[in-house]
Amino acid sequence: MTETRATRSGIPAAEGTYPPTEAMLAEPVPAELQRAQAERLRAAWAAPKGWRYWSAVNNTEVGVWYCMTAFVFMLMAGIMALIIRLQLAVPENDLISADRFNQLFTMHGSAMMFLFSVPLFEAISILLLPGLLGARDMPFPRLSAYGYWCFLIGGVFVIGSIFFDVAPRSGWFMYPPLATKDEGMGSDIWLLGLSFIEVASIAAAVELIVGTLKCRPPGMRVNVMPLYAWYVLVVGGMILFAFPPLIAGDFLFELERSFDWPFFDPERGGDPMLWQHLFWIFGHPEVYIIFLPSIAIAAMIIPTVARRPIVGYSWIVLSAVGTGFLSFGLWVHHMFATGLPSISLGFFSAASEAVVIPTGIQLFAFLATLMLGKVRVTLPMLWITGALAIFTMGGLTGVMLALAPFDFQAHDSYFVVAHLHYTLFGGMIFPVVAGVYYFFPFFRKKLLSERLGRWSFWLTFSGFNLCFLPMHLTGLFGMPRRIYAYPAGLGWDGLNMISTVGAFVIAAGFAVLAWDIVRPKGRQPQIPRNPWDAGTLEWSHDVPGESWGVRSIPHVTTRYPLWDQPGMLARMDSGRYYLPDAEEGRRETLLTSVIDAEPVQVQRVTGPTWITHLAAFFTGGAFIFPTFHWYPPAIVSGILAVACIIWWLWRDTARPPEDETKDVGLGLRLPTYASGPASAGWWAIWITMLGDATAFASVIFGFFFYWTARPDFPPDGAAHADGTLVALACAGFALSWAMTIGARELNRRGAVGAARLGLGLGPLLAIAASAALLGSVWTLAPTSHVYPAILWAIAVWVVAHSIVAVIMQAYCLAGSIFGKLTPRYDADLWNSTLFWHFHALAALVACAVLGLAPRLL
């Protein structure tokens, strides 16, 4: 597939020998050359020094900041939990006010989910994935950095609100009408702050998916890639389908909060249930988005401690992919008590039971590996053992709760609190801490303390069970979750006291862990390079550390190359494999084909910069100012953010290369430029737009949800969108799309003038179409009823995307005029056309819903 596209554009395909022969690999590299190459590589990849250090984009730097930031947010959310437990320790306590209590439990849940669990997956993957894949870095290092700075700004903003007594206080799932009617800005902080972070999450998902598909080392076919990479692929895909419904929900919710458009207000035709659906379509897969990458860490540790390959590799792939799918069929089990028809509950109950099968399979595969291997109970293994025990408990109460009749009894009680903490501690915290102990030598080139680690484990494990095991009973005795105080004598007193004591024991365990991580380790002797005798590629890292990722990119043909390919490590170190040099002093990595990882391209990778900080700062402004209803500065921030991103793309991405091909070593020459499906950027757009299309589909789902759920939708005699203007908009978008496609084809055939004409007319048509679309709903009053409101929302969505689409056309036009985009080097135009495919489809669907649906329904 990739070759044909590359050839059509005139860019030469890969040429030379592949795969390398044994004779080529056996040929030594002269020592002098090795030294010179290493010197050049080191210079190209060095992280900046001094205060410029913070402009670094290397995955090893950004990944560590990301992890540490998420860890700090976790500790803060943990302290909130301790205050909650103190308040509940004794009956009729008045340690804190009810309002403060509401803020604390809302922020505890929100921070643990949005500021710790999901970002930590991204952080660990950014840090780890290039190592696992023997890659130099992620394909888009600046995107990781931008995502990190967005996360930091948004996280500080959201969690900081608790210090000003304005934190959100309606629970982490923000149910309307409580959250929509809530006075103060708490709900806005939640909606806007977390939307901002969700955008960063999607950016990371794009990066990780493209990294896994295109940056594997030559030869690492899909059946030999590390299981962690499979999980990253699945979880990245899940993020693309799970987060957008929440973003769409946030969009509607914030329109209601800011402009009084009544999406969730039943008095004006809205329906609070829509929020519950959108939230849990996100919220349940979210649980697996947290769980799968953590269990992926277990899948890396277990073969190492068992000293044998994993048992049932295909079975684990099955369980990861299967869980990924099934987890989208569970969302209504959070809504069993909302009065839906019992047969609907039945479907979700059945799917909730079915998901146990793939989840169980992977645990059994782990147990089988341990049974067949010679296990050494190292510290990481100890934590994995704890994880398996606790997660199994949580899984079993999950099976109970998936049964609707039981859930009716236990709903919103402490039984649910116990269940969710068992699954999240067992499915996330324990495996992640195991990963911290296991991978710390890889991250920091130091070992954590065995003694402190055992202390931490036993404190956390026993404290956890002390805290949460009694909660099952507290819940069955009838204590609802989220209550601020309770009367004495209901049988809850002692159980609550035990839970509070347990919470502090957990805190002690985490304090030991935190100390072990931050304590100075300067006097520790240099660690061995592969301290656990693992077989996967990340343990080919350099000790002391180097920032080049790998010295040369190996040819990998086994699942555990360090065990099964003797001599590989020495060859990597001597620069015998691919890309051993950085002759031009620029950062480069190898792109390979999706299935079989055949080398296809040398990709220039971007280096240190401040533009990502500026872009993140202004993006933050665009999200944060609206919480204060300061719209003009928000709009200015948004414009500046777009300007920064354009500047960054224009200067440093998809520039025509000096040479068309480059010698990458071992007798192979690879092209230095690709456009269309052969390029990493095209895949990134494709994946982003898949997520964007999901968000748009969620808004459209809202329209049809109102139609099914409400008898007065559309209300009798309601004014509809203007049919003529909708038809004009439809034609305008279709023509602008055609102009873009035409420009791409003409440009490739060398008709540059005609292509420029298309790129000049396209934006005009798109602007006219957007004006027509807005005009079609202009006379409708969105505050009067949900029907005009949802029509407006759809129009606003499409027009906002049109702005991006027009910028892309103009960007390509400018590129063509200033020589960045030529008939041969046309990646920008391919990417813009791809965006336009999605945008045109969305616009046509929007026109159909605005123009046709009300007349047909």
């Binding site: 030999v224 295909s314 992919v321 609907s344």
Partner: protein, 132 residues
């Protein structure tokens, strides 16, 4: 590293799935489509007062169809895995042949789990009636 294939030979022999991981997701996607159909049709039918008996029987028919589709996908994936003819159940080698069989194995297992998933989701259709 002993059994090396040239790319030309590989692409000729196992060109079928080149460039695409999608095929292993066909069976679970069928499950997802069936699941969504069951949920949305019933929810809409109950809200709009459609004859739910007809909806229910139609959906049971859809279940049979979904199971047949998944069985077909699973059978083809099994043929691609071909554990009997090759005598090898696992495919850990980094060559095109093992990748080919591996994708068959993964597809087959996903078809099995999807089949079970459709059976599970069909049970409420068989056991419950009406919109209450």
């Amino acid at each position: 590293m002993t059994d090396r294939h040239t790319p030309e030979k590989d692409s000729a022999e196992f060109a079928a799935e080149a460039g695409s991981l999608w095929r292993i997701t066909f069976a679970p996607a069928t499950w997802a489509g069936h699941f969504l159909l069951c949920y949305t049709l019933f929810a809409t039918g109950c809200a709009k007062g459609w004859p739910v008996g007809t909806v229910r029987h139609g959906l049971i028919g859809m279940s049979v169809l979904a199971l047949a589709v998944i069985a077909l996908i699973g059978w083809r994936a099994y043929a691609q895995w071909s554990p009997r003819s090759t005598g090898r159940i696992v495919n850990p080698r980094g060559d095109a042949e093992d990748r080919h069989h591996f994708l068959g194995h993964a597809g087959f297992l996903l078809a099995v789990i999807s089949f079970i998933g459709v059976v599970f989701v069909t049970l409420p259709l068989l056991l419950l009636e009406g919109c209450r």
